[in-house]
């Protein structure tokens, strides 16, 4: 299962503490959520694009990982163009739908925003080992070990769910109910195994919890075998995050497009 031990290509970004990457991504996202305008989103996106160079993602990995974004962004934009708040010159009217200067600008801003906010998150996931992220959450951010490690151990079960699901589907075919019945049959074939999967996974989860408890988990203060520390590189990462956010806002204000959502 590659979910928990992803093959991460060594790169400057992959070496950083996951917490600094998380921090930078959050700073940029928050800044972009403060306004809806195309200039700030475009500037942030362009600066993020430059940073991608140090992430060590191959072209294939990059397009594969970000594929959902490239679909979501245009759709979000198009929806806004068609149904968003209208202002300025009317460009097109079809029934309920009016396309105006304002809604086009808004749609563009939304599409760019989805990309600019989504990209750092995806890069974070693609260059981070879940175990390292858990170490950072527990040791740097001091979140309770019980939740962090419980979650991490639970993540391992996801791989098993996939395996269970595969067997459940094969078993339905073997038992004569694997096809037919039209859309209702298809629906039934989905929910039948879903229940069995639930039973099987609850049982597996409780066994895992027993095994963890037997190894002394969740009692007293614990030590950490792996150190998760913040270094100079992490300060740079956070600085870059703040920088991208600051520059994006400054350029938008200078260009006069900044529109504070809370005002």
């Amino acid at each position: 299962m590659s979910l928990l031990t992803p093959s991460i290509r060594p790169s400057a970004v992959a070496r950083l503490n996951p917490i600094s990457k998380l921090g930078a991504a959050i700073v940029v996202s928050l800044a972009l959520l403060l306004s809806i305008d195309w200039v700030s989103a475009l500037v942030a996106l362009a600066l993020e694009g430059v940073l991608l160079y140090w992430c060590g993602l191959s072209a294939r990995q990059f397009w594969l990982r970000t594929s959902t974004l490239w679909i979501a962004a245009p759709f979000a934009g198009l929806t806004t163009v068609l149904y968003g708040r209208d202002s300025g010159a009317v460009l097109l009217t079809i029934g309920f739908v009016t396309v105006t200067d304002g809604s086009v600008q808004l749609g563009l801003a939304i599409a760019l925003r989805v990309l600019a906010i989504g990209l750092p998150g995806i890069v974070l996931l693609a260059t981070t080992d879940p175990t390292d992220l858990a170490d950072g959450l527990a040791q740097v951010l001091r979140l309770p070990a019980r939740f962090v490690l419980g979650g991490l151990a639970g993540l391992r079960l996801v791989g098993m769910f996939i395996e269970d699901w595969r067997f459940l589907s094969l078993a339905r075919r073997a038992r004569g109910v694997g096809d037919g019945g039209g859309p209702i049959g298809a629906l039934r074939r989905f929910f039948g195994p879903a229940f069995a999967l639930l039973v099987i996974s609850v049982r597996r989860g409780s066994k895992l919890a027993t095994a963890m408890e037997a190894r002394g988990f969740g009692t007293a203060p614990r030590t950490w075998a792996r150190a998760s520390a913040i270094g100079a590189g992490d300060a740079v990462m956070l600085g870059l995050g703040l920088g991208i956010a600051g520059i994006a806002i400054a350029v938008a204000v200078w260009a006069g497009t900044w529109h504070f959502v809370l005002s």
């Binding site: 151990a153 004569g176 002394g216 792996r226």
Partner: protein, 522 residues
């Protein structure tokens, strides 16, 4: 394997003491264990036996301090490890459970072993020293960042053992640690336990119904009485001699008392009669594979990863074919392919016109319902194939899908319920049955639609000697009625008892990308 004497330092073995101890699980009428009086001296090695339901696991879980709090059950009497309650003796006691998959906590080998030490607040430098030593002592010489998901069952159990050893327990508890392993894995784990006990001097309590695995390692056998207290307690040889018959009847695999099969065994056919590669044109031929390659399509991929190839095999009516080989050789994948559930990754699998009955020759292209009367499959984990809320409804799934008349459905279901002694459970939920009952039901559900080929994946896994005997008797009966049996197994006794021929897949261990699949026939 020589151990670094400093690495697994002798620990003082723990002392176990029970006085009138008992435990009743919340919501149950009868206690799981009651009236237990017991003393186990430091360094003793104890095999814990008893019929299923005698409370072996309950005792071991209690000693590990994981039985739960007061609202999960009622405790009576006193149970102490080194004079302390088990919950206060965490770290003195290490527990390894049966299921290899649900004991791995972390994603990398080194981290997983370190987990227990972290919880005991061992300093970081010391943790990594212990991790290295523990992995050495169980013979698991892998890089520390090796993914735990790539380990075989035996390796996972040794990993769990290493994780426990790194905590330096004075009492090692093993709850059927080898029940789910292939013979190779069983030996790996047993030998690792022996080495580490020799080095550490810890006390051992092991539950296992296959006595032969542990009898030379333990020096004392304790038999729990399902009615409460202890049935027998003493040196290994003495107890097995005096209690052997009673234990065997209760399902324990006693080495000098192998399970007896009811009735007559079919006379064994000469090894390859009617089954040799050249004899593919026998009239009762059902399935034939030539140059078959099998593999599975990994998640989110389009092409299959081949695990075994170059397979030539024929299945005739009334024959029993065993598929054997090490873990990861592709046995289950081959079985699922023969069963028409997975598409061949290469080569050809053809059903004879007699079996296909007007359909095409490729079983994987048949509709789900068409498989029912042709090829039935019993999965390794019975829970994967249960679809209904009651045993009766479960048995009716096949006959119903076939569109049989309601009267005929009821007749078939009633007949199976009675024959497999499941009639008293007809309204029970399949998920609540015991291991042996689940296995019987999973075979019965397939028999209900009367397939001409029956494919079984590890049918005897984890069965005690009583349920084993029942299952084998059933398979012999099915076979003599003309059904072809194909079964994947590690169980040599099963192969010796019912197989006409054995097809051995000689793959690499689990974790290697692809096994070379030179098949060999016996």
């Amino acid at each position: 394997m020589p151990l670094d004497p400093d690495s697994v330092r002798p620990v003082a073995g723990a002392h176990v003491r029970a006085r009138g101890w008992g435990w009743r699980h919340a919501g149950r009428g009868a206690p799981a264990v009651s009236g237990l009086d017991l003393d186990i001296r430091p360094g003793e090695r104890v095999l814990l036996l008893g019929a299923s339901g005698a409370g072996k696991s309950t005792l071991v879980h209690a000693l590990a301090g994981v039985l739960g709090s007061e609202d999960e059950g009622d405790e009576t009497g006193e149970l102490l490890v080194d004079g302390r309650r088990p919950a206060d003796a965490r770290g003195r006691v290490g527990l390894v459970l049966q299921d290899p998959d649900s004991q791995v906590v972390l994603a990398r080998v080194g981290d997983d072993v370190a987990f227990g030490c972290e919880n005991l607040a061992v300093p970081r430098d010391e943790i990594w020293r212990r991790v290295g030593a523990a992995l050495d002592s169980v013979g698991l010489r892998l890089p520390l960042d090796h993914p735990t998901s790539a380990l075989s069952g035996g390796q996972k159990q040794r990993l769990a053992l290493a994780g426990v050893l790194a905590m330096r327990p004075g009492l090692l508890l093993l709850d059927e640690p080898t029940a789910n392993l292939d013979p190779e894995g069983v030996i790996e784990v047993r030998d690792a336990v022996r080495r580490t006990l020799d080095a550490s001097g810890a006390t051992l309590i092991v539950i296992e119904h296959r006595v032969a695995v542990w009898q030379d390692l333990v020096d004392r056998v304790i038999v729990l009485d399902a009615a409460g207290g202890i049935l027998a307690d003493g040196p290994t040889g003495t107890v097995l001699q005096s209690e052997g018959e009673r234990l065997a009847a209760a399902g324990v695999w006693v080495p000098h008392l192998p399970p007896r099969l009811p009735g007559r065994l079919p006379s064994r056919l000469p090894a390859d009669l009617g089954l040799q590669a050249g004899g593919a044109q026998t009239p009762d031929l059902l399935l034939s594979a030539s140059g078959l390659a099998v593999g599975r399509v990994p998640f989110a991929r389009r092409t299959a990863r081949v695990v075994a190839g170059g397979i030539d095999l024929t299945i005739g009516a009334g024959t029993a074919t065993a598929i054997t080989g090490p873990n990861g050789a592709g046995k289950s994948t081959l079985a699922l392919t023969l069963a028409g559930l997975l598409a061949p990754a290469g080569g050809r699998l053809a059903a004879s016109p007699g079996l296909a009955g007007g359909l095409g020759t490729e079983p994987v292209r048949w509709r789900s319902r068409a498989l029912l009367t042709r090829i039935g499959t019993v999965f390794q984990d019975p829970e994967h194939q249960f679809l209904s809320g009651s045993v009766r409804a479960e048995l009716a799934v096949g006959p119903h899908a076939l569109g049989l008349a309601p009267a005929e459905q009821v007749r078939r279901v009633d007949e199976l319920l009675e024959r497999l002694r499941l009639d008293h459970l007809a309204e029970a939920n399949p998920f609540t049955l015991s291991g042996g009952e689940k296995r019987r039901l999973s075979v019965a559900t397939v028999l209900a639609s009367r397939p001409r080929v029956l494919v079984l994946d590890e049918p005897t896994f984890g069965q005690d000697s009583r349920t084993w005997r029942e299952l084998v008797a059933l398979l012999v009966e099915v076979q003599s009625a003309g059904t072809a049996l194909v079964f994947v197994t590690h169980d040599e006794l099963l192969v010796d008892t019912i197989a006409d021929s054995e097809y051995r897949l000689a793959g690499g261990r689990a974790g290697s990308a692809a096994g070379s699949a030179a098949g060999a026939r016996r």
